[in-house]
Symmetry: C2
C-alpha cells in the first residue's frame, strides 16, 4: 500500500527513461507522489526554479527540497526511505559494482541509442552505432547479467534493484529502435539472459504503468526527428 506523502512531487516527462527511473524507485518504496508532466518546449517556473543549473527533468521535490538527476534521486529515495525494500545493494563492494554498471549504461547505452535515433533514415550513419549496440554494449550487459544475477531474475538477484531500474528504463527506447528499423536487437539466441530479464522486469509490479507505450513513442520520435532534421537544415542553410 502506498504511503501517503503529499510532500513528494516529481517533475517528469512521459517518454523520458530518466523520469521512468524515479517513478519505479518511488513505486518500490510504496510512496505516493504528485506527477507533474513538463512540456520541455515551455518549461514551468517550478522546473526552472528547481533545477536552475541544467533546467532538466526529472526533479524530485521533497517538501521544498529539489533533487536532480536520476541516479541521485534513486540514491536519495533509497536513503531517506531506508525501511522500504532496498534499491542499492547494502554491501559497499556490491554497491561499487552496481554504480559502475549504471555509469556504463548512462555513458554507452544512452549515447549509442541517442545516436541511432538522431541518425533518422541515414543507414550509413546508423551502422557503426548499431554494431556497437549489438556487438559490444549488449554483449557486456549480458555478461554482467549472467555474472551478477546468479541464476535469479534480476541483476541484483531475486529482486529488482539499481542496475535493473537504470537499464530497464531504456527498454522502451530499445523497442522503439527495433520498431523503426524493422529489426529485433534483443534476440533470444544472442542475449538469452537479457531477454528473460526484460520479461521479468516489465512484469514487475513496481514497473507496471511506468514504461511508455511503444506506439506513442514512435509518433513522438517521428516528430522529434522532423525537429532535428529542420534544425539541421537551418544550421546548414547557407
Amino acid at each position: 500500500m502506498a504511503e501517503k506523502n503529499s510532500d513528494l512531487k516529481l517533475l517528469s516527462a512521459w517518454y523520458s527513461p530518466m523520469a521512468t527511473r524515479a517513478k519505479i524507485a518511488l513505486n518500490i518504496k510504496g510512496l505516493e507522489y504528485e506527477n507533474i508532466e513538463e512540456d520541455l518546449n515551455s518549461k514551468s517556473d517550478l522546473l526552472l526554479r528547481s533545477n536552475p543549473v541544467h533546467k532538466k527533468i526529472p526533479v524530485l521535490i521533497h517538501g521544498d527540497k529539489p533533487i536532480c538527476e536520476s541516479l541521485i534521486i534513486l540514491q536519495y529515495i533509497d536513503e531517506v526511505w531506508s525501511n522500504g525494500p532496498s534499491i542499492l545493494p547494502r554491501d559497499a563492494y556490491d554497491r561499487a559494482i552496481a554504480t559502475f554498471w549504471v555509469s556504463y549504461i548512462d555513458e554507452k547505452l544512452f549515447v549509442c541509442t541517442k545516436s541511432i535515433l538522431e541518425a533518422g533514415e541515414d543507414v550509413e550513419k546508423k551502422k557503426p552505432h548499431f554494431e556497437q549496440l549489438e556487438e559490444e554494449i549488449l554483449v557486456r550487459l549480458e555478461e554482467a547479467f549472467n555474472k551478477y544475477s546468479e541464476g535469479e531474475s534480476f541483476f541484483g538477484g531475486n529482486k529488482i534493484g539499481l542496475i535493473d531500474i537504470m537499464f530497464g528504463s531504456f527498454l522502451p527506447v530499445l523497442g522503439l529502435i527495433e520498431e523503426i528499423n524493422g529489426k529485433k536487437v534483443l534476440v533470444d539466441d544472442k542475449f538469452p539472459g537479457l531477454v528473460n530479464w526484460a520479461a521479468n522486469f516489465t512484469a514487475n509490479s513496481a514497473v507496471t504503468g511506468t514504461l511508455p507505450e511503444i506506439d506513442r513513442l514512435i509518433l513522438f520520435a517521428k516528430a522529434q526527428q522532423q525537429k532535428w532534421a529542420l534544425a539541421y537544415k537551418a544550421t546548414s542553410a547557407n
Copy 2:
C-alpha cells in the same frame, strides 16, 4: 598516522586528476597503499584485468577486489573506512547536493578544460570554451561555494569533502591552461571565494604531494598536443 594496509593498491598516472582524487581520499582516511604508476601507452596486465570494460585508471584494488572510477572509489573508501573523517556528507540531502555538483564538475569542467587543451594553438577554436569556463562554469562554482561553505574554508564547511576533492583535482589543469595561454583565469576580483578555497585546498595535509607540478604538466601537455596534432594529420591525410 597511516593505517598499514598492504592490501590496497592504486593503479594511477601522476598527471591524472581522476587518480589524484583517489590519493587524496586515501590520505584523508590515513590509509597506506601501494601506488602503481601506469604507462597508458602500454597498459599493464593488472590494469587490463582489473578494468576490462574501460581499461582506464584509476583503479583501487582492495584485496582482490578492483574498484573503478573516481567517484565510485571515493564512495567505497568512505563507506569501508567509515570511522575515519567522512568524505561524503552524512545527511541524505546534503549528499544529493554534493553529488549533483560532482556531476556538474565532471560533465562541464572536465569537458571544457579538455576542449581547451585539445585546441592547442588554435585561438578561435579555444575562444568559446574559454568563455564558457570564465562566464559560466566558474561563476556557477563560485556561487555554489558561497552558498554551501557558509563562510568556512571548504565546500563542505570547515573540512575537506567530496566537492573539494573532485573540483580541487582539476586545479593543476586550470594552472596549466593559465600558463600555456598566458592568462590568469581564477582571479581574485571575479572569483574571490574560489581563490581562497584553492589556497586552503592545496595547503591541506591530505592534498600535499598529490597534485602534479605545473612545470612537469606543461612538458607533458606539449608532448600530448604533438600526439594529437599528428593523429589529426594522419586522419585528414588524404
